[in-house]
């Protein structure tokens, strides 16, 4: 009987191993379902917002044709035009939801949109579910699958030691090294199968191949590190129970305590800037501007000679100028906030290397596009689109022109460009691979030792 068959028989005939495997099959299926549901929700939200924008645009075209006024502004008024800038579902959301559900996916762009208030009034979702967290595939891989690895490998040799089989095993095999390597390899296959199946199914369900591969690579390397650690402890420990205790403590430390401690440490070293200060600064600017409105308007027209012949009167023009000036004056406050966030991100990058779990989770959400990186790119692109929108309609506003139906139809639309970059993934994979090699060296040292202990 080969080692493969031995492992297969032991797993399939043992009630506990069967139960644990069935549980992980169910968890993997659940993780996929949760990811697919989130992608469906996200798609629906974006589609609804897009439909709203196109519907409003179509109605505006009709109003212009019929000279029908709805609301405060006349039909075709540039100040009344509205468009969405929507973030499509992240390419890997099936595999990792990250904190994407928390972040707004649509900005409403008008002439008056300001970069600091693009996403106002987006907090209506229930915090209860958000606070409890999601159990997506990445969370299952990072938090729960190491437990599967521990269950499979903690008794790699310590189980034979407990059962007083070690002498017979060693006498028959000649060397335990081959036995250990075969067992470890085979026992690693099981979580590997789950992760591979998840990645393949995610691809079949629409995840981009590169994303699925990168996610699979990080997950596999992460579980390989755990397998080697569990194997090393499983070989060294005098009893399977001791091995299980040590490995569970390691899990506790690396997966539960350390990531939470890192988060706390970052909070202490580089606390999130309070938005309260930003709000107050903005209000001070707004109040000051109210008092200097006509002066601002005159100065704006001086700064923009292309608007020769412009009319300086009217609420819309004043408000437009006020918004631009507010944005400009609030920019240093926003930059301070952004710099504080960048500082936090740098601390996170430095400290995350302490915890393979934090690192791997961050990497998975990064490749899936559900960490802050893709959203930051979206915010930047939405702001750029807001600028394009303003440039497109500014002349209309100041020269008192309304849009024709064709002009309304051909207003700019937002298209999101996916950010690129595999550097982070390569570094992460390299680090995990290095950890794996170190553990493999330690393991090798143990199994080369022929002394019976």
């Amino acid at each position: 009987m080969s080692s493969l068959r031995l492992e297969f028989v032991q797993i399939t005939r043992g009630a506990l191993p069967r139960t644990i495997l069935a549980l992980f099959v169910a968890l993997t299926a659940y993780g996929l379902w949760a990811g697919v549901s989130e992608r469906a929700r996200w798609t629906d939200v974006v589609a609804a917002n897009r439909a709203q924008a196109e519907e409003a645009n179509a109605r505006e075209q009709e109003n212009i044709r019929l000279s029908r006024q709805e609301g405060f502004s006349p039909p075709g008024a540039p100040s009344a035009q509205l468009m969405d800038a929507s973030l499509p579902p992240a390419p890997g959301v099936i595999l990792a939801q990250g904190d994407a559900p928390l972040r707004p996916v649509t900005a409403w762009i008008s002439l008056f949109a300001r970069s600091d208030t693009l996403f106002r009034n987006t907090e209506t979702e229930s915090p209860l579910a958000a606070s409890l967290g999601v159990m997506d595939l990445s969370w299952i891989v990072i938090v729960l699958m190491p437990l599967l690895v521990i269950a499979l490998n903690h008794d790699l040799l310590s189980g034979d030691r407990d059962a007083a089989r070690l002498g017979l095993l060693r006498a028959q095999a000649g060397s335990l090294g081959r036995v250990v390597v075969h067992r470890l390899g085979l026992r690693f296959l099981l979580p590997g199968v789950f992760v591979t199946a998840a990645a393949i199914l995610a691809m079949a369900l629409g995840t981009a191949a590169f994303v699925a591969f990168a996610w699979w690579l990080i997950a596999t390397l992460y579980l390989a590190v755990w397998s080697l650690l569990a194997g090393w402890i499983g070989v060294c420990a005098q009893a399977a129970r001791s091995a299980a205790s040590i490995l569970l403590l390691a899990w506790l430390g690396f997966v539960v305590v350390l990531p939470a401690a890192i988060a706390l440490g970052i909070d202490w070293l580089s606390a999130t800037q309070s938005r309260v200060a930003q709000v107050v600064a903005t209000r001070e600017v707004q109040l000051d501007l109210q008092e200097r409105m006509s002066e601002l308007l005159d100065r704006y027209l001086v700064d923009h000679p292309e608007l020769v012949g412009a009319d300086a009167g009217g609420f819309a023009r004043s408000y437009f100028v006020a918004q631009r000036e507010t944005e400009s004056q609030v920019a240093p406050v926003m930059e301070k906030f952004a710099e504080a966030q960048r500082r936090r991100a740098r601390w996170h990058t430095r400290l995350a290397w302490l915890s393979p779990a934090t690192l791997a989770y961050g990497g998975m959400t990064r490749v899936a596009g559900t960490d802050s990186t893709r959203h930051d790119a979206f915010v930047a692109q939405a702001q750029a689109f807001a600028g394009t929108w303003r440039d497109h309609l500014r002349e209309h506003l100041f020269l008192g022109r309304t849009l024709t139906p064709d002009e309304a139809a051909s207003l700019p639309r937002f298209t999101f460009e996916e950010p690129r970059g595999i550097g982070h993934v390569s570094r992460l994979a390299g680090f995990l691979a290095l950890l794996g090699v170190m553990l493999a060296v330690l393991l090798r040292g143990e199994i080369m030792d022929d002394e019976l202990r």
Partner: protein, 470 residues
Amino acid sequence: MSALGTGAAELRQAWRDGRARTALFALLALAAITLAIGWQQQARQESDVAQATAVDRRLWEGQATRNPHSVAHFGQYAFKPAGALSAFDPGLTPWLGTALWMEAHYQNSATYRPAEDQRDQPILATLSGAFVMQILAPLVLIFMGFGLVARERERQTLKLALASGASPVAWLTGKFLALAVVAAILYLPAWAPVMLADSDDARQRALYLALAYGVFLLTIAALIIAVSARAGTARGALLTLLGGWVLMALVLPRLGATFAEEVAPSTDTGQFWRDVRAALEGGIDGHSPAGAREEALLQETLRQYGVAREEDLPVSFAGISMQAGEEHANVVYDHFYGRLQQDEQRQRRVLRGVSLLTPWITVRSLSAGMAGTDAEHHWHFVRATERYRRDLQRYLNGDFTQNAKGQDFDYQADPRLWRETAVFSYRAPRVGEVARSYAPDALLLLGWATLAVVLMLSAARTLGREASSS
């Protein structure tokens, strides 16, 4: 040997185990660090809120002569204070907005959720006093308690102990008492809020919080003893307890959250505002009176004042129509925000159902509730700000109505009009005002405690049968 004797013997062994001492002290040290950082953060937040509130009020009062409706649009900001015990349990704070703009026509939602600004979401949670008590303390109890009975069974000393005539219930109670003493040590951090409370309400909340954690840890201790008593081996006991902890503390709450979202889905923001706008557009929008409602209001106003034309009114109809628009909007907002609250309440009920499978959801809810950092307290703040906003709009529109006749939006009011408005001063609910809404959670926790004790006693009876059959 009596229960106390058994317990004392067990504690002596535990104390001599260096690993146990290390684990206890490490946890207490961790709790102290998290509490210290939490207190620092709470103090900073309170200071930021106080400062921002003062500055915003200064800005409000500092507005020069202008139209009251422009003042109404400038509005005021309300900044949510930190929960009474947020240093211990931040609860839902990261997922709830911190600033609310009270302006004309719109009931805005609270903006700027701290979670959105965090670039680095932790895998499980950030360390806090609540995290230490809910997640880590039970783990320490598990590692210290899993073998209390199971190992005795393995060593065959269980048979010896029971064969010597010891009552299984007393013997097992002794084991439980030993673990309860350990739980009491782990429980110490839950008393920190009591000692540091700076008001009667905070102290009362802290006491309830401490009580909840006390019951929780004793429940865990009893469950550990029950499992250890039934397990064939110490390893089996450890694996069962750790598996139970993973399932009940980590997996079930997340599954529960998904289930709650499926049963009572949160309203998507876009859909919410589309629905609100549709309902608002069905009536007066406040700026551009039109439509049948506007006409009906005009006719009624003319009748009320006994005149035939709008120009003959002694007051500004624009003011009347703006206030009518506000009141229509209030009905719309009450309806839709009320629905949001109802959705959350339904989710909370679903989660209560799931807490029949795990006490962690219950203790989490109680802890955040007593700390003042849950959705209930958030809605209390939102309702208070909305009451203030509506009163303010009524006041400003009233002045507009009385004094803007013939000028409407060209009317410039004296700054005293808004300087004399009441200062928005939010008082968080006292624990007595909200205690009722946590009664089901308290009962669930007591239910779990009862179940744990029943399981432990049942295990004791099984031990008795085991001893007599051997």
